[in-house]
């Protein structure tokens, strides 16, 4: 079974060049599984294409994937700007946001005011499903809060998307995907004259994970990605940070990171995987 996750998304982007097709189309007909990070990256890609006045198509055949796109809130999140092909039938109303305790549906992040309810759910899901202690769950919410604030702090004309899913596999884990289609780390960082020498996405990511690196010349800024890494390290998770044509994957049980070149996509996309605390 082929899957769409934070890794295979990049492979498909490279192989299919979906933005260059007419109309722009992402072909998921061979996909049998989609992760939250894959979902939000696809949502961000759809909105990015729509900003160029095109209506992208997402081709999906597998009935379970089509059903998941509805249940995971993807269909309603991208409905205004993209078509799922073949068109979904009228079953949308059967699914209610918040009804699945293991899932946070694809949610558009537009402002700080909407974060509070979302973060409360992010505290609840790992506590209920993965035996996280209260303060461990707070850590996850802090990491998400820091990253999502970046999406609207640094981009005025685009949104971010968030999704989260618990997997009751052996061992259980959770994945959180956060993606936007904004200016990306390189452009954002270069607004600060201190960083105008930085000229590639890899360097931009490397700078942005250091505490205090920001587009703002303000000591108190630049906390987001640094604390994301610290919290992922504390909980021995995996994190991927992608922007422009580069990404870094950190495996935090070894505190080791690998950089990759990937097909270009605007914005910043984060995938965070965290293990269960059942064995604690």
């Amino acid at each position: 079974m082929k899957k769409l996750d934070s890794n295979t998304f990049d492979e498909l982007l490279q192989e299919q060049e979906p933005s260059l097709r007419k109309p722009p189309s992402f072909d998921l007909r061979e996909i049998g599984f989609v992760s939250p990070a894959g979902l939000v990256q696809l949502a961000a890609w759809s909105y990015q294409i729509a900003r160029r006045k095109h209506r992208p198509r997402i081709l999906v055949d597998d009935p379970s994937v089509r059903s998941y796109l509805v249940r995971a809130g993807f269909a309603s999140a991208v409905g205004p700007v993209a078509d799922i092909v073949p068109a979904l039938n009228g079953d949308w109303g059967r699914y209610f946001r918040g009804s699945n305790p293991m899932l946070i549906e694809v949610t558009r992040i537009e402002s700080a005011s909407m974060l509070s309810d979302l973060l409360d759910r992010i505290i609840l899901v790992p506590r209920q499903n993965l035996k996280y202690r209260e303060t461990d769950a707070y850590d996850i919410a802090i990491a998400v809060s820091e990253v999502t604030q970046n999406t609207f702090d640094h981009n005025s004309s685009s949104y971010g998307f968030l999704s989260m899913q618990v997997y009751k596999s052996n061992p259980p884990f959770l994945e959180i995907g956060i993606a936007d289609y904004g200016d990306g780390l390189l452009s954002t960082l270069r607004r600060n004259p201190k960083y105008k020498e930085i000229d590639d996405d890899k360097d931009a990511i490397a700078h942005c994970i250091r505490l205090g690196t920001s587009e703002h010349d303000d000591l108190t800024r630049g906390t987001g990605l640094h604390h994301l890494l610290e919290i992922t390290y504390k909980h021995e998770g995996l994190v991927q940070i992608r922007s422009g044509n580069a990404k870094v994957r950190y495996r935090m049980d070894k505190r080791q990171g690998w950089f990759f070149s990937v097909a270009t996509m605007g914005g910043v996309q984060i995938a965070l995987n965290l293990p269960s605390k059942v064995s604690d």
Binding site: A112, D120, E134, S145, Q149, L211, L219, T223
Partner: protein
């Protein structure tokens, strides 16, 4: 969010933050405006006590915006006034400490009648602060240097750093011989 403000007495005002979850820089900006307005109303030697008893978690953006920015500007915008925190949990103490450390700052935490520094605290700063916190009277650099066994230059450097960080207060006083000198204290 509604934060409650009590005036305990002329020397101390309390701001009780309403929790339990405090998220985002934007939320902190609103509270910082309230904090600034309280600090404006204080006179030299007065203290703003931020009560975190209802708070279980805040993010780093919140901590940096509220506590970081206030402490960065305290000694020049509100010289001689103090902002201290109390009723932290182990978790909020750890996270506030990390946020302050990232900014090379420290703050005073009050726990019962004890005062301690959290954040970026060098052992020398801790020693100096503790000595002043235990003293019931203002102390001159000379007297403190004798107490801690340091030369006067090193003592003045330590005291100057803590004053700039808004952690101790410096006033003009006079020595036993009637000469003008600076005296240092923590809170009143």
């Amino acid at each position: 969010m509604h934060n409650s403000l009590d005036t305990v007495n002329i020397m101390e005002k309390r701001l009780k933050l309403q929790g339990p979850h405090l998220w985002t820089r934007e939320e902190a900006k609103k509270i910082r405006a309230e904090v600034t307005s309280i600090l404006d109303s204080l006179t030299v030697g007065d203290t703003l006590v931020v009560d975190l008893s209802k708070v279980k978690v805040f993010d780093y953006s919140f901590a940096n915006e509220l506590f970081g920015k206030t402490m960065l500007s305290l000694s020049h915008e509100h010289p001689g006034r103090f902002m201290i925190v109390e009723n932290l949990t182990e978790y909020t103490r750890e996270n506030l400490g990390k946020a302050l450390e990232g900014l090379n700052l420290a703050m005073i935490e009050r726990e019962g009648s004890k005062l301690r520094l959290i954040g970026k605290v060098h052992p020398a700063d801790k020693e100096t602060f503790d000595a002043l916190a235990h003293s019931t009277e203002p102390v001159s650099a000379g007297a403190l240097s004798k107490e801690l066994g340091l030369n006067l230059t090193a003592m003045n450097e330590r005291l100057s750093k803590l004053t700039t960080l808004g952690l101790i207060r410096r006033d003009k006083g006079s020595s036993a011989a009637g000469r003008e000198q600076y005296e240092y204290r923590v809170l009143r």
